[in-house]
Amino acid sequence: MRYKRFLSSSFPAFLFTFFFLSAITYGASEQFKGKIYDTGTLKPVDSRTRLKAGMQAPSFTLPSITGEKISLADYRGEKNVVISFVPAAWTPVCSDQWPGYNLLKDVFDKNNAVFLGVSVDNLPTLHAWTKEMGDLWFPVLSDFWPHGAVAKKYGVLRSNGVSERALFIIDKKGIIRYVDVHDINKRPPLEALVRELEKLNK
């Protein structure tokens, strides 16, 4: 009885949602025009990370779109590291996330930090996708094979093989200082990232 009532009252709302979702992409850049695949609204978080501030960051080595291999250990004792996992190339929110960080080189420099963009897409896809963003000053890493291995290590691999939209800040000693596994449908506000970066030097 209760189930039936739920169905009858919610069905029009579902229809309504799907109808309008197809018509609008929030904040989409004209840069990507018809190239963005509309994922619709997804389950906000679909994994559970055991990583927390204060823990040692899992090590990794990944290939970047410029051909070099990048290891977290490369920055040990030298730089703070911000890792930005994005779910997938050519999807709505991700396509309008890294281009913003591209304006922030001086903020990262000032806080002695590097930015690493990570996605489970393969290198050719990441190459084509990031070309649309202009010249990026930071490395873009492919966590394609073994598929999503680093995302899995960090506890942010979703059940369908893409990663969460997650930010990890790791200090020069390799200790995690900040974790934000964000609602996949939304872009994390810059305020939080900058505030956490500034804390590193205190």
């Binding site: 919610s10 309008f20 989409a28 202009g134 305020e191």
Partner: protein, 181 residues
């Protein structure tokens, strides 16, 4: 669950089609800028919020943009040039004003964009996408030019997605379309 779906449906449905040329532009509410020069530029007084129809201008150029949008980043110097062209002409500088509305951008994000490109005209944060939804949830950058009337919604004389292309030609075009001269 049901409540969230209903609320979501309402938020999404708030974005209708983009307002088009010849029609009225929604008289949206924005916060009065803190910067005194920008307040004077828009002819506003006091604090709190204001409606577009309170802006002192014959023509208002509204750019819907986002700090995160690469196209908007590339377009920024072009819009600055348009602002410079308008400001340098005594006959129109008090009649044509420009504002930017940052769709989904927080105050810090607006600030980063403004500093990066040395933008002098006022930029507004639209963190909740409410102004963006009211103006049709358009792709960015999107330019509206409206002929303003005090206390009434403006009439749209130009509405287009993407670059304004050549700023001088754009300025000539919108003046012609608005019969300001």
């Amino acid at each position: 669950m049901l409540v969230s779906v209903l609320v979501f449906a309402q938020v999404i449905s708030a974005a209708g089609p983009a307002p088009s040329t010849g029609g009225p532009f929604p008289d949206i509410t924005l916060p009065v800028p803190d910067n005194p020069a920008q307040k004077e530029y828009l002819g506003l007084k006091g604090k709190g919020s204001f409606r577009l129809s309170q802006i002192k201008a014959g023509l208002l150029i509204i750019e819907i943009f986002s700090m995160y949008c690469p196209y908007c980043q590339k377009e920024a110097p072009n819009v600055n040039e348009l602002h410079r062209l308008i400001s340098s002409r005594e006959d129109i500088k008090d009649k044509i004003k420009i504002i930017g509305i940052g769709a989904g951008n927080t105050p810090l994000e607006i600030d980063v964009f403004r500093k990066k490109y040395d933008i002098e005209f006022p930029l507004f944060s639209d963190e909740t996408f409410s102004a963006h939804a009211a103006t049709g949830g358009v792709r960015t950058p999107y330019f509206f030019v409206i002929r303003t009337k005090t206390g009434e919604p403006g009439v749209i004389v130009y509405a287009n997605v993407g670059s304004i292309e050549d700023p001088q030609q754009f300025l000539d075009l919108i003046i012609k379309k608005s019969t300001l001269e």
